[in-house]
């Protein structure tokens, strides 16, 4: 049974790799390679200690990379590897430097006493794809290590989207479990968080928050149900993020919702979600994929 007939037989709640074309996956890999490179915090010079070790830093001292930040040689090797990944050649070797730096630098950065959540999802998406290429399994075609076939490339993209969907779902689940399922009821208290993050931003930049933002914060305090509606819709987007795996249209709808969620939180709380927005844009909104399908004609769906 080939991949297309398997896809046709699957129920919507048993998703698998979509029928991404080889060309659109090149665009996805190009976008993701750029995202991975930019997301790595190459300037590691400030991290010469790991006072609160996290992840593998609990068993390995990673401060060497703080004392000797990667130079242009290592960066060029990483870029070269990512270029091979984009072209669909030697993906295991190609992704290895980027994965190594992503994990080591990300772990050391998060071992300074302040856990930042800007790069975990990108690192996990990278790890997921790497593992798919490393363990191609049955039906991966000939020479999967040198040049993976269409089926394996689709599996790698699917792994990235599963990781992304799961990251949003778990974020919603944790909100419910950590609050004893009172999160929606307590959502009006998020107005205090808004006030806090805006003053925090003031101390970062000495720029006062705009007047409209103060008005929004006050409106959320005065109308608790408005706060529940606004923040509750965000929670719903997180909990329902798994729908992006159903088909292209759901991926587009979910991707746009995720991007809108991040943009609205960025405006309200002065937080930076650029990596998450770009990841959703690349794999879910997937503009090049829609353009290529449109150009291919109506039979392409």
């Amino acid at each position: 049974m080939n991949e297309d007939s398997l896809r046709a037989e699957r129920r919507w709640w048993q998703p698998g790799p979509l029928d991404w074309s080889a060309r659109e996956m090149v665009w996805m890999r190009l976008g993701f390679a750029a995202l991975v490179y930019v997301a790595i915090k190459w300037e590691t010079g400030a991290w010469t200690t790991q006072k609160f070790p996290n992840g593998m830093a609990q068993v390995v001292d990673l401060t060497w990379i703080g004392r000797a930040p990667p130079g242009w040689g290592w960066k060029a090797l990483t870029l070269g590897g990512l270029a091979a990944y984009v072209l669909g050649r030697l993906p295991v070797l190609g992704l290895l430097p980027a994965l190594g730096f992503s994990l080591v630098i990300g772990t050391l950065g998060n071992s300074q006493g302040a856990i930042n959540h800007s790069t975990q999802m990108v690192s996990m998406m990278l790890l997921g794809q790497f593992l798919v290429y490393l363990f191609p399994g049955a039906g991966a075609g000939l020479r999967p290590w040198w040049g993976p076939g269409l089926a394996l490339q689709r599996r790698a993209v699917y792994a990235a989207t599963v990781v992304m969907a799961a990251s949003y779902v778990v974020c919603g689940v944790v909100k419910l479990s950590n609050s004893n399922f009172r999160w929606l009821q307590d959502a009006p208290f998020l107005a205090v968080q808004l006030l806090k993050t805006n003053w925090s931003h003031y101390h970062d930049t000495l720029e006062m928050p705009p007047v409209w933002l103060q008005a929004v914060t006050q409106a959320l305090v005065e109308h608790p149900n408005l706060a529940r509606l606004c923040f509750g819709s965000g929670l719903l987007i997180e909990l329902a993020a798994f729908v992006v795996l159903i088909n292209r249209r759901w991926a587009l709808v979910g991707g746009v919702a995720i991007v809108a969620l991040h943009l609205s939180i960025s405006q309200l709380m002065n937080l930076n979600f650029l990596n998450h927005i770009l990841a959703a844009g690349i794999f879910l909104v997937n503009v090049p994929g829609w353009v290529l399908r449109k150009a291919a004609g109506p039979e392409a769906g």
Partner: protein, 162 residues
Amino acid sequence: MRPACFAALATVWSRIPFRAVVVVVGLLFVVKEQYPFSNFPMYSKVDEEADIVYVTDQGDRAVPMDAVFRTGSGTAKKMYKKELTALARAGGRKLEEATGEERAAAGRAVLETLGERLRVKALPPGAVGLRLYRQTFRLENGALARLAPERLAERAVSNSTN
């Protein structure tokens, strides 16, 4: 018996909706914060209080933390909480039960770490000292209130830092 058991398990497994997502969500939920894995717990506990940690000069004028320390108030607060949790735990207490002395010690540790990242040139003219403050915001009686800031630590600016 075993093959039948495995077959039954395989059937159950094949019927789980979105099983790949279920597996990864389960993994992230259990592993929590171990880079690169995370359960993304930001804003999962919300209550009527929130606080920030920030730095001023010796005259209580705010300094732009991004430019001066290449890190922000949010990171400073997380560092402070981590230091305070460690100190309170060593004394057999919870974070909320930390003493004033422990808060001051945590503040000193944070200010020392920030000091290692200090760019003197980015400081406002005339700044010769740094103070670390914690300020709490509270929703009480349907109104937002800013409580008086608590000074946690103070230190002189060293000229040897660049």
